[in-house]
Symmetry: C3
Subunit: 335 residues, 3 copies
């Protein structure tokens, strides 16, 4: 016999139904992808792209109004037959009260959670899959990429601590982690990261400032489409300062971002434009300083099918020394 969970907004809103909840949500994506890995042809790929994300939120409320909870995720991404299977990631635990939230474990991270860093699209980048996420001003060919604390979908995550606060138009986020790095042998492998951001919304515009200080000795270029590439890393290579500004102009959401990645500047410009009743065009362009740097750009189309489903297509080009071209097309659906 099948048991069906269904949306229960009305019931949960009614008083006293339950002090504890387990809720399930997530999304699926399926379609086709083509990757021309440029500098490293061994990473060329073409074929079926799929991802499943199933998220379990376990929450409860104590008598004093404090809310406690944890989030688990199962995620599997496949590019042409690789990457399936597995169990759950590390949990993020939280305690919440008023505008404050304390997070422990697989934390979200202050850089990861900063307004204006990711694009306001279903993939948080371009198209169905987000491609190489060269749209992020904190991902650079010179100084490595994804080298900040972020909620890990498949692994343990940072095992850190974070405090988030919001009040009206203001929000702030500080995170800390102290994890061994897989890149450096012990006992030199301890990697402390402190990150913070503040954000403020003026009318329809949000400005955010972010910062990361890390004592990592080596920074990886862990771009899955890139393979081995030796960037200009070294002590302090994860240090970052960044600013983003984003707002709405008529049918368009526009956003500008700039990051100083340990001396390597990168800026990005982003736009999401409604071009029809159910169709939106997304585009970005970035420019990274330095001998390995250069421009990256991308364009995507999202057609809303209603009920949480959409048709997504994207093209992106990384014109840095990596020289990666990616295209994808497919369906995304939420549940």
């Amino acid at each position: 016999m099948k048991k069906i969970l269904f949306a229960t907004t009305a019931l949960v809103a009614s008083a006293g139904v339950a002090a504890a909840d387990v809720s399930f949500s997530g999304y699926g994506r399926f379609g086709a992808i083509d990757i021309d890995a440029g500098l490293n042809p061994a990473f060329d790929a073409s074929g079926i792209y799929t991802r499943i994300r199933l998220q379990i939120d376990m929450t409860m409320e104590a008598d004093n109004g404090l809310e406690f909870g944890a989030r688990l995720r199962h995620q599997a991404t496949s590019v042409n037959g690789a990457g399936y299977g597995g169990g759950f990631n590390g949990a993020r635990f939280f305690a919440r009260a008023g505008g404050f939230e304390l997070g422990v474990g697989n934390i979200i991270g202050a850089i990861e959670n900063m307004p204006g860093l990711y694009m306001g699209t279903q993939s948080a980048g371009i198209g169905l899959s987000g491609h190489t996420f060269s749209n992020l001003v904190t991902n650079t060919t010179s100084k490595g990429n994804f080298n900040w604390d972020a909620y890990s979908s498949g692994g343990a995550g940072a095992d850190g601590v974070e405090v988030m606060y919001s009040a009206g138009d203001f929000s702030a986020h500080i995170s800390y982690s102290d994890s061994p790095s897989g890149l450096v042998p012990a006992p030199f492998n301890v990697q402390q990261r402190v990150a913070a951001h503040v954000a403020y919304t003026f009318n329809d515009w949000t400005v955010a400032l972010g910062y990361q200080d890390s004592d990592a000795l080596v920074c990886a270029l862990n771009n899955t489409y890139t393979g081995a590439f030796a960037p200009l890393t070294g002590p302090g290579c994860e240090d970052k300062a960044l600013i983003t500004v984003g707002g709405t102009v008529g049918p368009a959401d526009l956003s500008l971002a700039y990051a100083d990645n340990d001396g390597i500047g990168k800026w990005g410009l982003y736009a999401n434009v409604e071009v029809g009743a159910a169709t939106r065009v997304d585009a970005f362009v970035t420019s990274e300083e330095g001998v390995f740097g250069g421009e990256t750009y991308g364009i995507g189309v999202s057609h809303n099918l209603g009920g949480g489903a959409s048709l997504e297509a994207g093209f992106a080009k990384d014109d840095t020394v990596l020289d990666i071209t990616t295209m994808d097309l497919g369906i995304r659906f939420n549940f």
Copy 2:
């Protein structure tokens, strides 16, 4: 606090409750098994048999009536203490409209899904566990077994594409996959499978025709009760053509099947007979051509306990060169 999911047929049927669902279903089996592995005594086993299957169906409906979804499964089978644990399998994604369904990822496969291939029992074979599934006319000692695309309960599956169509008494299914084979070193390991079946129901009788074309170079005999055995495989060894006919005569369901497995013919005869208010006897016999071939047969009893539970017992004998004898007994319950 416990959260309980309960059957919600009535609520879900009511209009507008939800566009997206996550549902849980599955079964448990527990009992005893005895395996005399004949040719390969190292695979003899005797003791506790258990299996848990937990299935998660995540579905939603777009505005145009298109249904999108994905299925994940956790399954663990134990024969005397082996095979427990683990996470989820690869997901199967689908889009459905009218009688059409497109499947992507861990596909079901056109041979696997063909009417009359498996038996109409809880195990799809004989008894509690299905034993060695020597009842399938597509499993042969000479040409390997389970060498077609099928929804994988524990692994990634085929990462393929399939289209299913049904209209009234007619149904058809085409599947395609292009996966590396673990049996052959690169670059010769790419294994393309195309399979199809059509089925038609005349009164109480269903006739189905199936076909598989594969460019696999080597075919495994991946029977878990068999161990290493070198069948007569080689290029084309996975090619198959098969026909099944099944229907009802009084208290009995009868079925006949024949497959040409790359030149090795195998036929099978199957019966499920109601012998009391809650008791059914199941039986099969097959015969495979060739020097490694021979007869296999089995008999089982299923006693319905109501509510989705049953007592299951089975005996099967593989009288090919493999010479395997298996018995089992236990409980199956659905949830």
Copy 3:
């Protein structure tokens, strides 16, 4: 879209809603821990402690009133960044009728399930994490620890069989397993365990007697805070006989336990005292005979936050030759 499972006591109690259920429950813990591993400083640790437990109970009822079901668990415990991730454990299957229950697979075990063995605290030991569980009279420095069958949260478990019976104030439990031991090479590695307990409640006092007979040849000291330590093990080292007595005196729950662990006696005294409207103090002391033995003791505080959440703090000292000191502090919440 999110689907929310909520408490449905009322609905499930109503007749005929469903014959089959899938329910989710569990808890989270997060806080800080400090371990001074004494004899083996390599196991010293200090930092964040987290645990998530998500439990899935799948049950159904047959027409004759027999209840069948299975339990799966995902659990991940992290001490300063280790131990995250993974899938499900081995399932425990059961059939229940009247006061009888048959369990198969990852069984609970008669010693594990004995009243008075564990403390009546959220961790079943002291504080947030239970520390080293030196409070158990069946864990000894001389004869190894946790060497009895118990429901495994992360692994396959014992793959055994057990029968539980209760009628009024009386309960009994017999368990059997026959598993290979990882400590001894084949063919000497088969380890049979038979265990049993009986318990009876007189007014507010419960007396329980337990027994285990095992043919294990070597017994591990698998204390995760200890590392390698060679105890006085050998054939029969898992044999145990134990007695517990527990009851209530005013605001205090008191309990006394004694075990003969293959000739090594260990006794324990336990108290849980309500010291305020929402605060309870827990304490224990144990004493183990022999050259490796000695005293262990601990004290904890539990402050109830309501709704299933509590603040937990604990200190424990193992004054045997192991010389371990542990402290922890944090939040526990149920869902």
